[in-house]
């Protein structure tokens, strides 16, 4: 079969089983768009901004576990995509981004719409390629999918000059089934000796703690994690990225840790004697002050990426391998070990933890005459029966979504944790909704963030995506305002949001439904009314209490046991600590 470069590209995507291609056309990719015409296998989704194409592909990837695929033109198409590529890179999301490039003959001549896409994206991709010969095209695409989705996943950019896709030049097509790269061989199976040492240490622990991260979700290790946690009876906390890998409703789950983690999770981190980190990377939002991180703990770390190990926190037992592989080996050892965790030590540890739990750190004002953002998220959880896919933008609303929507399953909570990209939520929700047309997809956002990719309301109409947008409208760049309140003596420098659009009319003008909710007594009925509209995108503009803060909060660079607490939580009792 002889195909042109453009046809090869499309055929490769078909052979790779790609369902959706998120893209935006332009000069350098017109041959490719022509090859996409009149075929149905790869469905092209026309976004309204290339940033949204990358976020949508990213959301699709996070929800399905399969790589998201993007096609953009050269120059501005590629630069617009960079934010989304960096977002995916920071959270290790598998993605293949095809960027058009000017023809090989004029590369380097400042041709129209030329940028050095390989150079610009180099620091924020797992790898990138420039295709210089049509005969390398199919294999390069195969490599791109292979690299993006194996080991520690990440985005891969393939830059394709226009002449490579010339319809007049045809070559034989063959899509390799597998690809072997001598320079890239990720380790999956952990070192047995290290695994055994780790298990021995865990079984002898008196105050153990499990800290699981996004690597469990990405590595599809949720089942193995559940077995591991239940088998040991240990407390578990999760990073922002790992939520849902272990069910939030389970009594062994202490909630999220870190800057806006629960009191009990952070205190247990601080006091534990053995810590096992699973697919987590000791991000600074998680560790707080490095010098006071888990001061008494021996630390075990499982990660598929060796460079994550001992990067910020030096660990005692590193295990390089994929989460499910290593955990199932551990589970096997634990089951067959003659040693069991000490019942006595564990029950003492749990009673200390229960003391911390009694502080009820997530309490907030239930009798306010203003709508409390926490209450909105709790109600959305109730109405969606905890089954929704929830995407978010970045800010206070993101933390409230993470804190007050308990996730029972992995791949349901979709947010930009590493890069913290405002504008992520809505396009990510589009990707998720396309992957799961019959599921409820909620985008929890703020009036600031939603305006960063608001144009995608148009895309949602075109493809009939009934996303439910829950905008917690506090008329502030709330997270910025909170820091200014706490650390800059209430100097709210440029964190207000004035001249806001009428979001209801805006939604309506895009052909959707807009519902404004201003009073707590209307909240439930209005949410229920909107969520009942299965086939419509509904934009809830919810006017919330402007002064609300996210609690608990560990100030940047402070230790885990040094938290700002909600004024509505019970006073922390020091006597529990004395028990230890």
């Amino acid at each position: 079969m002889e195909l042109s470069g453009a046809e090869i590209l499309v055929q490769c995507l078909k052979d790779e089983g790609v369902e959706y291609l998120f893209g935006y056309p332009g000069g350098a990719v017109l041959h490719i768009y022509d090859a996409l015409y009149n075929q149905e296998d790869v469905k092209h989704i026309l976004v309204r901004h290339e940033q949204a194409a990358t976020h949508a592909a990213d959301g699709y990837a996070r929800a399905t576990g399969n790589p998201g695929v993007v096609l953009v033109t050269s120059g501005p198409g590629a630069t617009n995509a960079v934010t989304g590529i960096a977002t995916a890179y920071m959270d290790s999301i598998p993605m293949v981004v095809i960027t058009g490039q000017v023809s090989t003959a004029v590369i380097g001549s400042d041709a129209f719409q030329e940028v050095d896409s390989v150079g610009i994206t180099r620091p924020c991709v797992k790898h990138n390629f420039l295709v210089k010969d049509i005969n390398d095209l199919a294999e390069t695409i195969k490599k791109a999918f292979f690299v993006a989705s194996t080991g520690r996943p990440g985005p891969v950019v393939v830059d394709v000059p226009k002449d490579i896709t010339d319809p007049a030049i045809k070559v034989p097509y063959h899509y390799p089934e597998t690809v072997n790269m001598r320079s890239y061989q990720p380790t999956l199976k952990g070192h047995s000796g290290q695994i055994k040492r780790a298990v021995d240490l865990l079984l002898a622990a008196k105050k153990p703690m499990i800290y699981s991260g996004g690597g469990v979700v990405l590595g599809k290790g949720s089942d193995e994690l559940r077995q591991f946690v239940r088998g040991l009876g240990f407390p578990i906390t999760s990073t922002l990225m790992g939520l849902g890998a272990y069910p939030a409703s389970d009594k062994q789950f202490l909630g999220m840790l870190g800057m806006h983690g629960t009191y009990e999770a952070n205190m247990a981190m601080h006091d534990c004697d053995v810590l096992i980190a699973i697919g987590a990377r000791f991000d600074d939002r998680v560790t707080g002050k490095i010098a006071e991180f888990c001061p008494d703990a021996t630390i075990i770390h499982i990660d598929v990426d060796p460079s994550s190990i001992s990067k910020t926190i030096t660990v005692d037992i590193p295990i390089v391998g994929s989460v499910p592989d290593v955990l199932s080996e551990m589970n096997h050892l634990i089951e067959n070990s003659s040693k069991k965790p000490s019942k006595k030590a564990l029950s003492e540890w749990w009673s200390i933890i229960d003391g911390w739990r009694a502080v009820k750190c997530m309490s907030y004002d239930q009798n306010s005459d203003k709508i409390k953002p926490q209450m909105v998220v709790e109600m959305v959880h109730e109405i969606t029966k905890g089954n929704a896919y929830v995407t978010s933008d970045v800010g206070q609303h993101q933390m409230w979504a993470a804190q007050y929507y308990p996730f029972e399953e992995p791949n349901r909570w979709i947010n930009s944790g590493g890069l913290g990209t405002m504008g992520f939520g809505l396009p990510a929700a589009m990707g998720v909704q396309l992957a799961f047309p019959d599921s409820v997809v909620v985008c929890v956002t703020g009036e600031g963030s939603i305006q960063m990719c608001i144009q995608e309301l148009s895309t949602c109409l075109q493809y009939g995506l009934p996303v439910k947008i829950v905008a917690l409208n506090n008329r502030y760049l709330g997270m910025v305002r909170q820091w200014q309140e706490f650390f800059y003596e209430n100097r709210y420098s440029h964190s207000y949001m004035e001249s806001l659009p009428d979001f209801v009319k805006l939604a309506e003008s895009y052909g959707h439904v807009g519902i404004r909710i201003e009073r707590p007594e209307d909240l439930r009925a209005e949410l229920e009314r909107g969520f009942a509209m299965d086939n419509r995108l509904v934009f809830f503009d919810i006017v919330t209490d402007q002064t609300e803060n996210v609690y608990p909060m560990i100030a940047q660079g402070k230790a885990h046991n040094d938290m700002h607490m909600s004024p509505f939580s019970a006073p922390a009792q020091d006597k529990e600590r004395e028990l230890s």
Binding site: V118, G119, R122, P123, K126, H127, L130, K132, V147, M181, R182, S183, Y184, D305, P306, S307, I309, S310, K311, T314
Partner: protein, 164 residues
Amino acid sequence: MRHIISILIENEAGALSRVSGLFSARGYNIESLTVAPTEDPSLSRMTIVTAGTERIVEQIVKQLNKLIDVVKLMDLTEGPHIEREMMLIKVKASTMAQREDVKRLCDIFRGHIIDVTSSTYTIEMTGAVSKLDSFIEALAEHKIIETVRSGVTGIARGDKSLHL
């Protein structure tokens, strides 16, 4: 501590910028970097001299290994090794006294004078960094017109080697 890291890397366009970009993006120290093809045209050999705490050097090694184009890597400073740098140096030598003294120093350091004019000598010298440094110091009384150093290359001693 100073480390010499040898890398076998795919001989692809852009491979060098991946390595240098990694060092600048992560703020790693780079004293010298040399790169050239090997007997296998698909591979380049790179030698990087860097300095940092053990912890940082461990990260450098891991981050380099993580680059998709890096095929194999070895920290030469972990074992016995040979380190060489080549220098070309142009020195003013117009008077008899200058010419004699420069020639004498060149002989002591086992360099070669490879180009001569009525007013200059150009010397080629190979050795460890410290030897080249000492030679420059020894030339203190003379006017150095130009110095070109290749950057360090190195190889492990004995049977140990970096190959596929």
